[in-house]
């Protein structure tokens, strides 16, 4: 079974000479081609985290609520009442560039499997997306990518029956040839019914269930571990097609089988397919697995062992059952109309043995394959000059905006007295990073399961837990331009903002997941960014008491050698102890007072202690019933937060407000500037609220009141902004559909 492996083959597999020597060392002989394939996918960047692991160790992963940290399919937290929550985020960037619709769809499918593999029923999904600008040279392709990605997410999530309750979308030039698609899912289960991917019990059958194995996606994991150049087209045969109906059947059948106690261990076949699921299950249990490839259901004839082991066909699961109860397990699958087959057996010798027609075609020890991947401490060097000029993070929403909008703000910032703030306001709400995302989320079923209390469009999504009075709040956040300017600071801000969003919705932040989207790790600047971001996340997550229970790293996000911005995306989950605490960003009744809460000084740098004071204050104000609405100030600053609070909701038409904006710096910055640690609230007890803020060491400014049909922002006695709120809302609402039709409001 030996063959001579050439240098060309090693390169094709992305295996270095050193790594090859390591493989030979583990095996005690040269590998054959199938074995080389197996090692190459398991040791790919995507599966082995070989460049990131040394850094990820610095993340805080433990806390009183954490039942399962990183290392399993998803992280798990305890939410009381005997219930637990599994959640995770994962990237599907490369597949979504090659085929936006199917790439995004299968990304959703993958993360949902990670959740129900553990025994949890998915109750919510979110996604974080990045695209290149919708205008300009690449506007056409970028629009098609966006439409495809959104369509794919909708197709999969809607059919599967999970509500897509939130997410975020950002635009910047660097994502033009490299969109980011990060999918998050969350599920609930009883805390004593957690399932793990362990192949326990020598002699137990290994069972395959779900879609047949085809040639799709062979080397998907390796593909996600290389950038795109001229040959992107050549990678296309790898495209996988998602089958959400099959996945829905798998969900119901697997949960049914788990409920009946028929499952010993279970893992989905995601990246690196059969190889990854079998060797990881064996490695976790310290056992071996023998696979009989003839038994693997196949879609195409004449597949080689190499192809079968490396296929990334979707909607497949691998299970270990106890020998005596395998029949009952097959009955469950039959009921749900699923094909299942015994494909192997658990053994005691720790080897992954692969056989075809009675002959051994590969024999690799599970442990080293799964756990002894090379570990790289790649060179990290700060860039010689920052990529983003210092001015942009002040108005980060302008990144990816049409040139004229960018210029108008630049001029206003330089010459604040001369600007037309009505015009700037209209441009701000129509800018790609601020425009209404309704066109996107209306395509997502965000109400299935009848638990969505706050759907897309507020600071955080809120989903009730049936059978309790509790709810979960969740949010995705990734402020890329801040991170591009200053990775560590940007990461701290991302955590702070995500937690602030949860607190604004009435929740207490509990735990986090993260997806780290970066450029080429072989570029020292990229590794420097990575290390800085990890340290920023670690620091902020410790301060807010939100351990990181899992995540995903996506490297090689580059096209034509241009790295994307470092783009960490944070997923934060919070607990709302009582549904009466649920709070949204929208102003409620005429006459309610509007108050801005912020620290004493308005600076760009975030002080995490001040931030914590603000969040604690807000949480107690909500608990004590002083808050009617709460909205976190982020992109577009105070002016945009105020407008968003005025826009229409499910329960009311748009409502105006008349606000006096305190003068601290100058008008443009005070209106639109982005400074951390600020919230806009409405209340019926402004006096008490301001006093409580002062006691917490924060400033509470009474800005004015809700009411009328106009949004009026006064600055130093002048009406800087005075717009009909319905008109402003229309501009905000029409901007994205307009841009997608190639008819932007401003160019």
């Amino acid at each position: 079974m030996n063959a001579v492996i050439t240098d060309a083959e090693l390169e094709q597999h992305g295996v270095t000479r050193d790594e090859y020597a390591r493989i030979v060392g583990i095996l005690g002989r040269e590998p054959n081609r199938t074995e080389l394939g197996i090692f190459s996918v398991m040791w790919s960047e995507h599966c082995s985290y070989k460049s990131s692991r040394v850094h990820l160790r610095r993340l805080p992963t433990e806390g009183p609520a954490v039942l399962q940290g990183p290392g399993e399919n998803a992280g798990i937290i305890d939410i009381g009442d005997g219930l637990a929550v599994a959640f995770k985020i994962e990237s599907h960037n490369h597949p979504s560039y090659i085929e936006p619709f199917q790439g995004a769809a299968t990304g959703v499918g993958g993360i949902l499997r990670d959740i129900f593999t553990m025994g949890a029923r998915p109750i919510a999904a979110m996604n974080s997306l990045r695209f290149g600008p919708l205008h300009g040279d690449l506007g056409g392709p970028n629009r098609r990518i966006l439409e495809g990605v959104v369509g794919g997410i909708a197709h999969y999530g809607n059919c599967f029956g999970v509500p897509t309750v939130g997410g975020e979308v950002g635009f910047a030039e660097c994502y033009s040839q490299n969109p980011l698609v990060n999918a998050f899912a969350l599920g609930v289960f009883e805390k004593d019914r957690i399932f793990f991917g362990k192949a326990a019990g020598v002699g137990n059958p290994v069972i395959y269930v779900g879609a047949k194995t085809g040639r799709d996606g062979i080397h998907g994991a390796t593909m996600a571990s290389a950038g795109f150049g001229e040959d992107a087209g050549a990678k296309r045969p790898n495209v996988q097609i998602g089958d959400p109906f099959m996945e829905k059947l798998l969900l119901e059948a697997c949960l049914d089988a788990m409920e009946k106690g028929l499952v010993v261990g279970i893992q989905d076949m995601g990246a690196a397919g059969l190889t990854c699921s079998s060797c990881e299950m064996g490695a976790r249990a310290g056992t071996g697995i023998t696979l009989e490839l003839d038994a693997v259901p196949q879609r195409e004839s004449g597949m080689t062992p190499y192809e079968i082991m490396l296929s990334e066909s979707q909607e497949r699961m691998l299970l270990v059952a106890s020998a005596s109860r395998a029949d009952a397990l097959f009955d469950v699958f039959r009921k749900w109309g699923l094909d299942a087959a015994q494909v192997g057996e658990v053994t005691g010798d720790g080897l992954l043995r692969v056989r075809l027609s009675g002959e051994s075609v590969a024999e690799v020890p599970n442990g080293p394959l799964a756990d002894e991947a090379p570990l790289y401490e790649r060179p990290a060097v700060p860039p010689s000059k920052p990529r983003i000029d210092g001015w942009l993070p002040l108005y980060s929403f302008l990144d990816g905006a049409p040139g004229s909008t960018y210029e108008s703000f630049r001029e206003a910032d330089a010459n604040p007295g001369a600007a037309d703030y009505d015009a700037l306001m209209l441009r701000a709400v129509a800018s790609p990073n601020l425009a209404s995302r309704r066109w996107i989320w209306e395509q997502y079923d965000h109400m299935v399961q009848s638990s969505t209390v706050v759907g897309p469009g507020s600071d955080a999504a809120v989903v009730r837990i049936k059978g309790t009075g509790k709810a979960l709040a969740m949010v995705l956040d990734g402020p890329s331009v801040h991170v591009a300017r200053n990775p560590r600071e940007g990461a701290r801000k991302a955590v702070a903002e995500a937690c602030r969003n949860l607190v604004c919705s009435g929740a207490r932040p509990v735990a986090a997941t993260n997806c780290l989207n970066f450029g080429n790790p072989e570029h020292p600047e990229v590794m420097w960014q990575f290390g800085e971001v990890v340290d920023g996340l670690a620091e902020a997550c410790s301060v807010f008491g939100t351990p990181i229970t899992g995540g995903n790293v996506s490297f090689y996000n580059e096209t034509f050698r241009e790295d994307i911005y470092p783009t960490p995306v944070l997923g934060l989950v919070g607990l709302i102890e009582d549904l009466s605490l649920v709070t949204t960003a929208s102003f409620r009744d005429e006459g309610d007072a509007v108050v801005l809460i912020e620290p004493g000084s308005r600076v760009e740098h975030i002080d995490l202690e001040e931030e914590r004071a603000l969040q604690n204050l807000l949480a107690t104000l909500i608990r004590d019933g002083l808050i009617r609405s709460a909205h976190d100030l982020s992109e577009g600053g105070l002016a945009v937060a105020a407008a968003e609070s005025c826009f229409s909701t499910l329960h009311r038409r748009p409502v105006g407000a008349r606000l006096h904006v305190p003068s601290r710096l100058e008008v443009c910055r005070d209106l639109f500037g982005e400074f951390p640690t600020r919230v806009l609230v409405s209340t019926r007890q402004p006096g008490a609220l301001i006093e409580r803020a002062a006691r917490a060491g924060l400033l509470g400014h009474r800005l004015g009141a809700v009411g009328g049909q106009r949004l009026v922002l006064e600055y130093e006695g002048v009406r800087a902004v005075d717009l009909d709120i319905a008109d402003l809302e229309r501009v905000w609402a029409d901007a994205l559909p307009g841009a997608l039709n190639g008819r932007p409001l401003f160019d």
């Binding site: 199917q102 998602g242 109906f245």
Partner: protein
Amino acid sequence: MKVTVIVTLKPTVLDPQGNAIQRNLETAGISGVTDVRQGKYFEVEVSDAVGASERRVLIERLARDVLTNPVIESYRIEWE
């Protein structure tokens, strides 16, 4: 003039729709069907003002750039 464009999934690409139909034919009392693959069928009407050679170019572009996703599908034009 009327032209027909047929768009089908490339042979190795998974067809969940066709599979689901095939797998459930038994319940409809139909047996003996071993495979179903689903494609799209377009009837395109072209203005007579468009000349014959221009028409060929036009339909080719329509079929290739609009009606087909080249990553997973291929097309066939039936001129009548």
